[in-house]
Amino acid sequence: MKNYLKCLLLMLPFILASCEEDTEPQQVGQFDAGIFVSNEGNYGEGDGSLSFISSAGVVSNNLFSAVNGKALGDVVQSLHVGAGQLFAVVNNSNKIEAMTLDSLKSTYTITDVSLPRYMVSHDGVGFVSEWVSFSDPGRVTLFDLETGAIDKSITTDFGAEGLIISEGKLFVSNNFTTTVSVIDLASEEVVASIQVGNSPAGMVLDADGDVWVVCSGGYDANYAPLNDGKLVELNPASFEVKTETDLNANLSGKIAVAPSGRTIYYLMGNKVYSLSTDAPEGGQVWVDEASAVSFYGLGVDQSGNVYTADAKGFAENGEVFVYSPAGAFQTKYNVGRGPNGFAFN
């Protein structure tokens, strides 16, 4: 209790400072319409945090620690909203924190995971990808969303990273390889491994239900970038590669799709690129943000507004830039340290 009060007290100046645009104080407990931001923090310092941008544009930072009296963890990799809960996947703390969506009170913590990365959920089951280690193959672990009880783990390949569900299959990009593994949700077994390209990472579904995966590109023996990043479109039923779009560069593993399912966004440095799923072509700069150091997170809300996160080299707190569906700059927000992704509620 004492710590809780102390944290609230510590929060006070920040709440006041963040309310400059809006004099109404943000009340903890109202997260119905808005955007959660995962701030991974500086590796090793354990200062990963959770921010929330309300529909009125008010930012609240450090929410998890304010509510729960402890830090969220070291390297908050990603967020997921499912079954009335918010999940924070904390990579270097080897845990998943589950919170209620209305109060952000911690409901349970899963600690039997190893370098967890991303999460999806389906029919009351949570799926989390784990790297496990740099020398073991990665896996996907299944757990009960309500209790956090782990059911089983399915080994895929090295660097299990992005997850997406389509046509009763779970697609898993294996970031340290060139493949995407396919897990059949009924049999809970790996049924295919698809060759895509170097360092497959984020995935989205287009309007036709096709899986699009971004391959960040590889490095040669001298660690020089191979500049072979690309976007690969997969048929979710036949597992065939439908299209490949070479980007002739190495790029971020973050990817997002417009609500129409016909425009895909990806990141390189401080630029956002767009790609039409009907006529894919690389190199189409959508936004060039001179005031950003380097974009590190990407998301699109239900209205098609595009959110990018600038981690600013982790030396200071990051910023979130918002663009209209037409690519016009709307506003920006100060969030926590190392913002890397969004969850839309």
Binding site: L10, A221, N222, Y223, A224, A249, L251, S252, A315, E316
Partner: protein
């Protein structure tokens, strides 16, 4: 803020005096002595610290010093220095006059070099004195392990046991025969480091943070003629540590194993009005992280320096050094031999009792860069009587530091086109020494300003690859105040020491201009009182205050680390068992108030803890 500090200082003082009245108090082992550092410094502004029989790390031994802040990744974990508000790689570390920072990172881990292998350490703030080493933007740490010429054989053994599984054993022996002198030192220390702390309302115990440290040193000297001496200093130390996990990831199991080889062979020639010193050295740093990521750097160095008196008022110092670096690492793709050379000259003028001046010039060469870093310092004597001495010093100096091997060669991202970081420093000081038969006092005040440019910062590029750039400009304004008093009252010798430093180290480029750099506290203060009696009892109480530190460049209050006050108490007694046998027993209580504090954010530090020491001396 200021009132809060004042309160801390006041509380500290009151408790000090309260204790002083109850107990006979102490003394640890840091008296100030004269110098063999003069060979490697110029000017007057350095402090020499004796480390006799200290079993602590260099970090611990220097923690009481003004103008220094150590950023520690836990208890006896990686400890990097910030000297006068500068970055960790902007402090020059010299061993036998040879640059001794780990060349890969350009900095020293001060937790890894045990004081047991050192006789003394000197600190020289600012760039002025560092003729010999690059990197002295914040200051220079000079490590002296010069062989003490024992008249007879000497054996010393020390054993310490302490809280959280601490065990130290060290043996020293010095001997001589004819023209030969030698000394051998070995030590081993282990710390389980399983201290309790409170986190999120729960009592937890630190895990996976043990540290094993051991090493050996052999020194030899041979007097070739009455004016010629050859010396050898060879040491090997190992530090195998579990990397202390943060409070938020308490179960991590990472390991760092470090081996350091240091060899220095010297030749000294005394001339009728001068001396010639030359040193050849080899330093190897071997770091292995989690048994798969290994980096080995090798440094080959040579130093020649001549010092001579041209006349009664004029002396000169001339010399040069060359350092070659090679390294192997998974992340260094190409073989390379990096070369850093420099020549230097220094002229010292003492024309009168009331004024003296020093002009230094150092020309360095590496790749296509030619940093030229002169400095000028002078000293005015304002008052000089039997009891009082007042003098003023001032200095202007240029400094620089080379990019590190990682900055230049790391793959991917290393940037061979980096320029050195540069600085210009102005400082002025005032000293007042007062001395009478049973009482002495010294008041010292320094104010300084440093303008520093081209700081090397790693930032991600378009494809997310991190790469270093000359990016940041920093302006540092600071003040150091210290007052030392010693005197005899009631048959006891009391030594009181107080120091305060104010360091405003501000970013001046890009966003966040005018903000304090992360992990550079604005305020630092130290108070200590030592008391010793003729019959061998001694005691000491020391209080250290470290101000609030920001962890981000935007200075977000909420992500800052709270200020803290630490108080340590030592009590001990020296016994003479026989003419040749001495014993010393002491007890240390550290963090007496059991304060919960953090140095690095979310990294636990131990509460109250104890240490018992036994020293046996035979000569």
């Amino acid at each position: 803020m200021v009132s809060r500090i004042f309160m801390y200082v006041l509380t500290g003082t009151i408790s000090l005096w309260a204790m002083a009245q109850e107990d006979t108090l102490y003394l640890e082992e840091l008296p100030v002595y004269g110098d063999s550092f003069q060979r490697f410094t110029t000017g007057t502004g350095y402090r020499s610290i004796s480390l006799t029989n200290s079993s602590s790390s260099l970090e611990e031994a220097l923690s009481e010093e003004n103008s220094i802040y150590f950023k520690s990744y836990g208890n006896q974990q990686l400890s990097s220095i910030s000297f006068r508000g500068t970055s960790a790689s902007q402090t020059s570390v010299l061993w036998h006059g040879i640059p001794a920072n780990y060349p890969t990172l350009g900095q020293m881990d001060f937790s890894q070099w045990p004081a047991w292998l050192m006789g003394r350490v000197a600190l020289q703030p600012g760039s002025g004195g560092a003729l010999y080493g690059p990197g002295a933007i914040g200051g220079t740490v000079l490590i002296d392990s010069e062989l003490k010429l024992a008249d007879g054989p000497l054996v010393e053994a020390k054993s310490s046991v302490g809280s959280f599984g601490y065990l130290f054993t060290g043996i020293k022996s010095a001997y001589g025969q004819g023209q030969w002198r030698g000394a051998t030192k070995i030590f081993r220390s282990f710390l389980k480091n399983d201290f309790p702390y409170e986190y999120a309302g729960k009592q937890v115990r630190q895990k996976n943070a043990s540290v094993l440290n051991y090493g050996v040193q052999q020194q030899l000297s041979y007097r070739v003629r009455s004016n010629q001496k050859m010396t050898l200093d060879a040491q090997y130390t190992r530090n195998d540590r579990e990397v202390q996990p943060s409070k938020v990831s308490p179960n991590l199991e990472d390991e760092l194993k470090t081996g350091n080889v240091r060899l220095a062979a010297g030749y000294q020639l005394e001339l009728p009005k001068g001396s010639l010193t030359s040193t050849l050295a080899f330093l190897q740093n071997d770091q292995e992280y989690n048994q798969n990521d290994r980096t080995i750097s090798n440094q080959y160095s040579a130093l020649v320096a001549y010092w001579g008196e041209l006349s009664e008022v004029l002396s000169v110092r001339l010399g040069g050094n060359a350092n070659f670096f090679t390294a192997t690492s998974n992340n260094y793709v190409n073989d390379f031999v990096d070369q850093q050379t420099s020549i230097f000259a220094s002229l010292q003028v003492n024309p009168s009792d009331w004024w003296s001046g020093t002009v230094n010039a150092r020309q360095s060469f590496y790749e296509n860069n030619r940093p030229f870093t002169p400095s000028f310092s002078q000293k005015f004597s304002v008052l000089s009587t039997e009891k009082n001495e007042v003098f003023m010093t001032n200095q202007l100096s240029w400094g620089f530091r080379y990019p590190t091997l990682n900055d230049l060669h790391w793959s991917p991202g290393g940037n061979p086109d980096l320029k050195p970081e540069e600085s210009f420093n102005l400082e002025g000081g005032l000293d007042w020494k007062y001395r009478q038969s049973a009482f002495s006092s010294r008041l010292h005040l320094t104010a300084f300003k440093t303008w520093s440019d081209n700081w090397i910062i790693w930032l991600p590029d378009g494809s997310g690859i991190w790469s270093p750039r000359n990016f940041r400009t920093v302006e540092i304004t600071g003040m150091e105040l210290s007052w030392e008093v010693s005197g005899k009252w009631g048959g006891l010798l009391h030594e009181f020491r107080s120091a305060y430093s104010y360091t405003q180290s501000q970013n001046k480029a890009g966003a966040n201009q005018g903000k304090q750099l992360p992990y550079t506290p604005l305020h630092n203060a130290h108070l200590s009182l030592k008391t010793s009696s003729d019959n061998g009892w001694y005691g000491k109480a020391a209080a250290d205050f470290t101000g609030r530190r920001f962890t981000t460049l935007d200075n977000t209050e909420m992500q800052s680390v709270d200020e803290y006050l630490l108080m340590d108490v030592f009590v001990g007694r020296r016994f003479s068992v026989s003419d040749a046998f001495d014993l010393e027993l002491s007890v240390a209580i550290k963090n007496v108030f059991d304060n919960s504090y953090e140095n690095l954010i979310n990294r636990a530090m131990p509460g109250r803890n104890y240490q018992f020491n036994l020293l046996i001396k035979y000569n």
